[in-house]
C-alpha cells in the first residue's frame, strides 16, 4: 500500500511536469484528483487495510493528495504565465468595438433641457406657445403699443399687419396670465425670430421665458431665483451683476451679467475685455401688463426673465459662429 502510494505520487508528478496546456491539466485533474480519480480510489482501498496500519497509511494518503493538489495549482499558474509570455493565440483586444449606432440631441436642445430642468426643480411649470403670434400678444399686451420706439429693438417678421413671428417668448406671460389667476410660476421655452443674420445673429433662435406672480414678490426675489439658476447652470462661484436696462414690459428692468466663463474675469475676446458676459434680461413685471390681463397691480407683483439658449450653448461649448447650430453638420452635432 505504501509503495503503491509512492508510485502514484512519482508518476503523477512526472505527468504534471509533462503537461503543456489547459486540456492536459483538466485530464490530469480528472485522472488523479477527480471524484473517480486515483487518489480517491486509493483512499477507498484504505478500508481493506488492517486497523493498526490504517491511521498511518490514511495520513500518508492524505499527504500525497495534498501534495498533488498543491503541485497541480502551481503547474496551472505556471502554464498561465508562460502562455501569456509566448502570446500564442490570444485575442487582440485593441480591435475597435462593435458599436451600435447612437445619436445625440442638438446642443441647443441639450442646453434647453438643462435650463428647463433647473427651473422645474424650483417648481416652475413648463408651457409652450405658438411661434406665429398675434401682434397683440407679442407687443401690445406687453406694453409696446404701435409706433413705440421699443419696436426698433425687435426686427420683426410679419405674416400680416396683426400676425407675426414672435420676437421673444414673452407673449407666453400674457397667455398664461389670461388663463389662470395668481400665484403663477412658469417657464416657456421656444423658438423666436428676428430678421437679422450675421456671425452673431440667426433669424431664428431659442429662448426660455420665465415668470413668477404672487403677492409681495420683490426685485430681491428675482435676484435670488436667478442666482440659484446661474449657480446651477454654470458654477456655484460664478459672479453675477445686475445692470439697469429697459424693457417695456418690466420695471425696474435689468440685464444680468456673469463673470466671463472663458477667462474667469481677466478679460478676453469673448467678453470684449470686460470680464463680464451678458446672459439674460429680467425685471419686475410692469403694472401695465397686469392691467392688460386683468390682475390688480396693487395686489400682485411678479418678475420675468428671458434667456437666450444659443448664447448659453456658445459659452458652454466655446462655439464662435452661431450659424453652425443650423447647418446640422454631423461633424458639429457629434461633438456634444
Amino acid at each position: 500500500m505504501e509503495a503503491e502510494l509512492q508510485h502514484l505520487q512519482t508518476e503523477a508528478r512526472a505527468d504534471l511536469a509533462a503537461l503543456t496546456d489547459a486540456p492536459g491539466l483538466e485530464a490530469f485533474r480528472v485522472k488523479y484528483l477527480g471524484r473517480k480519480g486515483l487518489c480517491t480510489t486509493v483512499m477507498r482501498s484504505l478500508g481493506a487495510v488492517p486497523d493498526a496500519e490504517r491511521p498511518r497509511l490514511g495520513k500518508l494518503a492524505n499527504d500525497v493528495r495534498q501534495d498533488l493538489e498543491a503541485a497541480f495549482a502551481a503547474r496551472e499558474a505556471e502554464l498561465a504565465t508562460s502562455q501569456a509570455v509566448s502570446g500564442a493565440v490570444r485575442p487582440d483586444l485593441t480591435l475597435p468595438g462593435r458599436l451600435s449606432p447612437f445619436g445625440k440631441l442638438h446642443p441647443v436642445t441639450q442646453v434647453m433641457d438643462e435650463v428647463c430642468g433647473i427651473f422645474a426643480g424650483l417648481g416652475f411649470a413648463v408651457a409652450e406657445g405658438p411661434d406665429v403670434e398675434l401682434d397683440y400678444y407679442n407687443f401690445e399686451a406687453l406694453n409696446i403699443p404701435p409706433h413705440h420706439p421699443a419696436r426698433d429693438m425687435h426686427d420683426t417678421f410679419y405674416i400680416s399687419d396683426s400676425v407675426l413671428l414672435r420676437t421673444h417668448t414673452s407673449p407666453m406671460q400674457v397667455r398664461a396670465m389670461q388663463k389662470a389667476a395668481p400665484p403663477l410660476r412658469m417657464i416657456a421655452p421656444g423658438k423666436v425670430y428676428r430678421c437679422d443674420s450675421d456671425i452673431t445673429h440667426t433669424p431664428m433662435f431659442h429662448q426660455v421665458e420665465g415668470f413668477l406672480v404672487d403677492r409681495k414678490v420683490s426685485f430681491g426675489d428675482l435676484k435670488g431665483v436667478l442666482s440659484v439658476f446661474i449657480a446651477k447652470m454654470f458654477d456655484a462661484k460664478t459672479p453675477i451683476r445686475f445692470r439697469p436696462s429697459f424693457f417695456p414690459f418690466t420695471e425696474p428692468s435689468a440685464e444680468v451679467d456673469i463673470g466671463c466663463v472663458i477667462c474667469k474675469g481677466v478679460g478676453c475676446r469673448v467678453c470684449k475685455k470686460t470680464g463680464w458676459l451678458e446672459i439674460l434680461g429680467a425685471g419686475l413685471i410692469d403694472p401695465a401688463v397686469f392691467k392688460m390681463v386683468g390682475y390688480d397691480p396693487d395686489a400682485y407683483t411678479g418678475f420675468a426673465f428671458g434667456l437666450g439658449m444659443e448664447r448659453i450653448a456658445m459659452l458652454k461649448y466655446g462655439i464662435t459662429d452661431i450659424r453652425l447650430f443650423y447647418e446640422n453638420d454631423l461633424r458639429f452635432l457629434a461633438q456634444f
Binding site: G123, I159, L165, S218, F219, V225, E251
Partner: protein, 752 residues
C-alpha cells in the same frame, strides 16, 4: 514758392517742417506763401495705401506731399490742400495739432432715455453718479421771443401734432466752412461737416438733443410757415435728393405755397441753405413722437432728428437750443438776430405730480428705506421730491425726464440709485404646487430619446424655407403642402414661407453632409409645420421627420459589418421601434404605390383610426436629385398631432409562462406574389390558442425550385399555460395550420 520749370500747374514749395525745410512739388490751387498745411513725409502711408517716397515729378525732386482733407480721409474736402489755423506751431504731428487722437465712448441707449441722446444729457446722468452737477453752456442773452412786428409768422394747425414751435430770423449770414474746432467735433462723432449754418444746427442737436432746422428765408414764399398735415397729392424733394409722395397723416412745414420740410424728419431741397443764403429762419420745435415715427416709417427715412423726436424731446429744450444756436450763428457766420421771434407753446402740458409710496417702493425692491432716504436718492439726479407724510412722497419729475410718468418709473430710479447689486438677494415664499409639463414637449422628449438610441442625430432647421422646396419635392399642383404661409418681409427667397414639411430642411442637411464627405447620415427633427388657417394665426402642427442614408452600421469599422447599406426595412424597423416605445400598436402599415415623394413600391403609409398618421419609404430618385443627393435615401414623417390624439393602448402585465415552449418549423413553397406578411397574418387569424408566436427565419429562391416560386420558412412557437405539450398535441395543431397555408396560398411543403 517758385513755378515748376516743366509744368504750368505745379509749383515748387519750400516747406518749413519744425527745424527742417523740405522741397515739395505741389499742384493745389490754394498753395500760397504763409499757408499752414499738412505734409506727409517720406515713409508715411496714406489711407489709400500709397507710401510716400522722395520722388522726381517732371524732373524736380519732391520730398513729401502736401495733403488735402480728402487725401487724409478727414472729410470729402473743399478742394485744395488743408488750410490750418496760422497760429499752429510748425513741425507738430497733425494728430496732436488737431487733437484728432480722441477717446470714443459708445453709449448703448435704451429707448426710454431720449434725454441722453445728447452730450448734456450724458453729462448730467454721469455727473449724478459721481456726485457732480451739470454746468450747462451759458446761452446768449437775446431779445425776448415776442411776435410783434415780425417779418415772418408761424401757424400751427394742431397743438397735438406740434406742441411747441420756436423760430427766429437771422440776417447777414455768410455761408462758409465752419471753424476747425466745430468741424472736428462733428467728425469725431462721424458726421460730415457741410457748411457753418448746417454744422451749427447739427452741433447744437448733438449738444442739447434738440433737432434744429435752418430754412433759407428768402426762398420761403410769403415769408411765413405753417405746420400742418399733408394734403392729398402733395410731393416734396427732401435734402437727400429724393422726391417723396406725401400722405395725409404726415406732418409738414409749409410756406405760403408748398411744403418745405417733413416735420421732424428732413428738410426740403426747395428751402435748403446754400452758398448764396444770407437770411436764415431757424426752427427749434417739438413734434408728436408717434406722428414722426409713422412718417419716418412710411417714407423709409430715419434721421438723427426723427430718432430723437420718436423717442420724445423735452418741450422746454426748444428755446434753450435756439438761444445756443443763435449765439453760435452770430459768432461764426457774422449774422445778426432780428428782434423777437415765435414761441408757439399751446401743446406744452404741465408735468403732473406723482405720489410715490414708501411702503410700495420697499415691497417691490425688497428694501427698508425711509422717506428721507428716498427723497435724498432722487435729489441726486435732480428729481424734486417732497415728503407728504411718512408714507407718501410727492415727486415732480423735471421736464428733461419725459420718461418718468408713473410711480413704478420712480421706483426704478430708486432701485438704480441704491444700486441693483446692493439690493439684498432673497427667495420668494410661494405655496407649493405641482409644476405641470407641456404635453407636446414631453412627447418630443420621449421620441427624441428613441431616435437618438437608434443612431439619429437631432437637427434643428429654420421654420421658414424657400417656396421652391415644393417644386424640388415634385409635389402636384394643389398638394396640401403647397399651401404655405408667406412672410411679408423675408430675409431672402430661400426663407420666404413657413414650412409645411420638415423633410426639405433635412434633405438640405444631408446634401451638406455628403458635400463634406459624411455619407452615412441619420438625422431627425421634431418641429412645427405651419398650415394656413383663414385670416388669423396658422395651424401649427408638431411633426417628426427623419432621414437615413449610407451604411447600416455607420459607427463600426468596415471590418465588423462590411459596408452594407440601409434599405427600406431599416427605416421600417425605426418606425416599428417608435410605435412600440410609444405604445401605438394600433397603427397599421399599408404598402402603397402612390407616395409622391417615394420610389414606386418603396412606400408605406401609416394608418390609425382611419386616418393617415405618417409615411415612410425610399425618397424618389428624382426628388433626391433635385436636392443634389445621389445615394439611396430613406425617410419617415409622422404627424405627432394625430398620433398624440390616438387613444392610448394601456398595458396590463401578463403572467410569465411556466411551461416550456416547443418550436416547429414550417417551410412552404409559394408563388413570388405571395407576401410573407399575409402568411403570418393567416396563421394568426386562425387564432389557435397554442400558437404563441410566428417568426420568419428564411426565404430561399433557386434550385431545385422553379422560377417564380420561393421557399418561405417559418418558425412556430407552441406553448400551453397549463401543461408541457407533447408531440401529438402540437402535431395536430401544426397540421391544421399547415393546411390553412397550403390551401389558401396554393403552397406545397418544401421537401427537406
Amino acid at each position: 514758392m517758385t513755378p515748376h520749370p516743366n509744368a504750368d500747374k505745379l509749383v515748387l514749395c519750400t516747406v518749413e517742417v519744425g527745424a527742417e525745410t523740405r522741397r515739395v512739388v505741389c499742384g493745389a490751387p490754394n498753395a500760397r506763401v504763409g499757408l499752414v498745411t499738412a505734409i506727409a513725409l517720406p515713409g508715411a502711408v496714406m489711407p489709400s495705401g500709397m507710401t510716400i517716397k522722395v520722388s522726381k515729378i517732371r524732373g524736380e525732386t519732391s520730398e513729401g506731399m502736401l495733403c488735402s482733407e480728402k487725401e487724409l480721409g478727414i472729410s470729402e474736402g473743399q478742394g485744395g490742400i488743408m488750410e490750418l489755423p496760422v497760429d499752429l506751431v510748425s513741425g507738430l504731428e497733425l494728430v496732436a495739432a488737431l487733437e484728432l487722437a480722441d477717446t470714443m465712448i459708445e453709449v448703448d441707449l435704451t429707448p426710454n432715455r431720449s434725454d441722453c441722446a445728447s452730450v448734456i444729457g450724458i453729462a448730467r446722468e454721469a455727473g449724478s453718479f459721481v456726485g457732480r452737477h451739470l454746468t450747462p453752456p451759458v446761452p446768449r442773452e437775446l431779445p425776448p421771443l415776442v411776435a410783434d412786428n415780425l417779418p415772418f409768422g408761424v401757424q400751427v394747425e394742431a397743438a397735438e401734432d406740434c406742441p411747441r414751435y420756436v423760430a427766429r430770423l437771422l440776417r447777414g449770414v455768410t455761408i462758409g466752412p465752419s471753424p476747425w474746432w466745430l468741424r472736428q467735433r462733428l467728425l469725431a462723432v462721424g458726421q460730415r461737416p457741410i457748411n457753418n449754418v448746417v454744422d451749427i444746427t447739427n452741433f447744437v442737436m448733438l449738444e442739447y438733443g434738440q433737432p434744429l432746422h435752418a430754412f433759407d428765408f428768402k426762398r420761403l414764399a410769403g415769408g411765413s410757415l405753417e405746420v400742418r398735415r399733408a394734403r392729398a397729392g402733395e410731393r416734396l424733394q427732401t435734402l437727400d435728393g429724393v422726391t417723396r409722395d406725401l400722405t395725409p397723416e404726415m406732418l409738414l412745414i409749409c410756406d405760403a405755397e408748398q411744403p418745405v420740410a417733413v416735420a421732424g424728419v428732413m428738410g426740403g431741397a426747395n428751402s435748403e441753405v446754400n452758398p448764396a443764403t444770407t437770411e436764415v429762419l431757424l426752427e427749434s420745435a417739438c413734434f408728436n413722437p408717434v406722428s414722426v415715427r409713422r412718417t419716418s416709417r412710411v417714407l423709409g427715412l430715419g434721421t438723427e432728428a426723427s430718432y430723437r423726436f420718436e423717442r420724445g424731446v423735452d418741450p422746454q429744450l426748444a428755446p434753450q437750443a435756439m438761444e445756443r444756436a443763435v449765439r453760435l450763428l452770430c459768432e461764426i457766420t457774422g449774422a445778426t438776430v432780428v428782434a423777437g421771434g415765435v414761441d408757439y407753446r399751446e401743446g406744452v402740458k404741465p408735468r403732473p405730480t406723482i405720489d410715490l409710496r414708501v411702503s410700495r417702493t420697499n415691497e417691490l425692491l425688497g428694501l427698508h428705506l425711509d422717506g428721507d432716504a428716498i427723497v435724498h436718492h432722487l435729489s441726486t439726479i435732480e428729481i424734486p421730491a417732497v415728503k407728504q407724510d411718512a408714507q407718501t412722497i410727492a415727486v415732480t419729475p423735471p421736464s428733461f425726464r419725459i420718461d418718468l410718468e408713473r410711480e413704478i418709473d420712480l421706483v426704478e430710479e430708486v432701485a438704480r440709485l441704491v444700486g441693483y447689486n446692493d439690493i439684498p438677494t432673497s427667495l420668494p415664499m410661494v405655496p407649493m404646487s405641482f409644476p405641470e409639463q407641456d404635453p407636446g414637449r414631453l412627447m418630443r422628449q420621449r421620441l427624441a430619446t428613441v431616435m437618438t438610441a437608434m443612431g439619429f442625430y437631432e437637427a434643428i432647421n429654420y421654420s421658414f424655407v424657400g417656396a421652391r422646396h415644393c417644386d424640388l419635392l415634385c409635389l402636384a399642383e394643389g398638394h396640401a403642402a403647397r399651401s404655405c404661409v408667406p412672410l411679408l418681409n423675408p430675409l431672402g427667397e430661400d426663407q420666404g414661407v413657413m414650412r409645411t414639411l420638415l423633410l426639405p430642411g433635412l434633405l438640405e442637411n444631408v446634401r451638406r453632409n455628403i458635400n463634406f464627405q459624411t455619407t452615412d447620415v441619420r438625422l431627425f427633427e421634431i418641429g412645427k409645420v405651419f398650415h394656413p388657417a383663414g385670416d388669423v394665426q396658422p395651424h401649427e402642427k408638431l411633426h417628426l421627420a427623419a432621414v437615413l442614408t449610407g451604411r447600416r452600421q455607420p459607427r463600426s469599422p468596415m471590418v465588423h459589418f462590411g459596408g452594407v447599406l440601409v434599405d427600406l426595412l431599416d427605416v421600417k424597423g425605426v418606425v416599428e421601434a417608435i410605435l412600440e416605445s410609444c405604445r401605438l400598436t394600433q397603427v397599421c402599415f399599408v404598402p402603397a404605390s402612390d407616395g409622391e415623394l417615394a420610389e414606386p413600391d418603396q412606400f408605406i403609409r401609416l394608418v390609425a383610426a382611419g386616418k393617415e398618421v405618417g409615411q415612410f419609404g425610399q425618397l424618389s430618385l428624382k426628388v433626391a436629385k433635385g436636392f443634389g443627393i445621389k445615394q439611396p435615401l430613406f425617410y419617415l414623417d409622422l404627424d405627432l398631432e394625430i398620433l398624440a390624439a390616438l387613444p392610448p393602448v394601456t398595458t396590463q402585465c401578463q403572467p410569465l409562462a411556466r411551461y416550456p415552449a416547443v418550436r416547429w418549423d414550417l417551410a412552404v413553397v409559394v408563388g413570388e406574389e405571395v407576401r410573407v406578411g399575409d402568411l403570418i397574418a393567416a396563421i394568426n387569424a386562425a387564432a389557435e390558442p397554442l400558437v404563441e408566436k410566428v417568426e420568419l427565419f428564411d426565404i430561399y429562391r433557386g434550385k431545385p425550385m422553379e422560377k417564380g416560386r420561393k421557399s418561405v420558412a417559418l418558425s412556430l412557437t407552441y406553448r400551453s399555460n397549463e401543461r408541457t405539450l407533447d408531440d401529438e398535441t402540437v402535431g395536430a395543431v401544426h397540421t391544421r395550420v399547415t393546411d390553412i397555408i397550403l390551401t389558401r396560398f396554393q403552397a406545397r411543403l418544401r421537401e427537406v
